[in-house]
Amino acid sequence: MPQVTLTVNGKSASVEVEARTLLVELLREKLGLTGTHVGCDTSQCGACVVHVDGTSVKACTMLAVQADGASVTTIEGLAKADGTLHPMQEMFREHHALQCGFCTPGMVMSAIDLVQSHPEGLTEAQIRHGLEGNLCRCTGYHNIVKAIAAAWPIMHGKVPAAAE
């Protein structure tokens, strides 16, 4: 069986997989990282979004073997070791951008990529377009959009983060 060697959340992992194993299966079943969710399993809902070499992708629509040699970041890799949340996670909490929470890991991973890839600024329309690949059935998206807009200046160092 193919051997896949990759870095996940900064740690190297070498895993034997079947060629048909999906990246999301490797993460959840081989590495126990169940924060990455499987919602639709048909590339539509975005609950499985992770970063592969810094870019957001749907881990249910990528083979594990395609991630050989890659650096993968999942929702578990965002908070600091002391538990301090990533600014995007903090803004999701601050703006009540989740209800049931099922879509949240994918939403947060897509949102971080969206903010990082737009250093020039993000309009509300760009945020909504950028979230096309993530479905949420609870929130109606409004608070998610607010959270992402609020995270942009923090992630780009435009305002000091909230006082400790």
């Binding site: 590339s43 749907k58 629509t61 096309e132």
Partner: protein, 263 residues
Amino acid sequence: MYDFAYQKPASLADAVKALGAEDAKALAGGQTLIPVLKQRLNKPSVVVDLSRLGLSGISLTGETVTIGAMTTHATVANSADVKRAIPALAHLASLIGDEQVRHRGTIGGSLANNDPSADYPAAVLALGATIKTDRRTIAADDYFQGMFATALEPNEVITSVTFPIPAKAAYMKFNNPASRYAMVGVFVAKGPQGVRVAITGAGQGGVFRHAAYEAALAANWSADALNGITTPTDGLNSDIHASAEYRAHLIGVMAKRATAAAG
């Protein structure tokens, strides 16, 4: 998903050789192939990953834009060169699927698959692009041969696509709000090969050119020139999303909007 053997060749020649195996399947970005495999609609013996062949990248001359087959939709959509030379092409790429799909999906994969609702076939046909493979170049007019059918041999690999830079071009798409595939997409172009109008999403045989619109726009490049030209419903798709009559109507609406947008 049925299991399969997996190969990631390091040269084009090795990829072509691997694809010569019975029931071999090429893997580009995988945004169609992997869902198809999950549904067990296809059972390849071997999946040949094309990602190590160095086939991505964008290059410009004064007259053309050449896009490597493994270039992702996101790269095309965000390319300053493509936005400057053929903004309609960058716009089209930005409308494919969603952000995460665009990060993986490739132009070569889209064209090799030739989904009747895919976006890129409209640009390739309307702009009169040429498709370069490991063994030849194929003109757009010869390439598309019906739903999911192309001029490619079973083991033939697209390496790049060259688009002549048009004087005017625009793409307008009425998408299915769930899948974001085109219910109707219209690409209009006025370029070195004259006025060409390509329609995707609507035809049972995949992308096609609209001769009546081309003649009208060649005589008078304006949205009004398309007034009163109806599109026959013969050969148009009719499904739960839209009837053939509605698609014929949308072709007119999208063509006028595209012509107006092209300026």
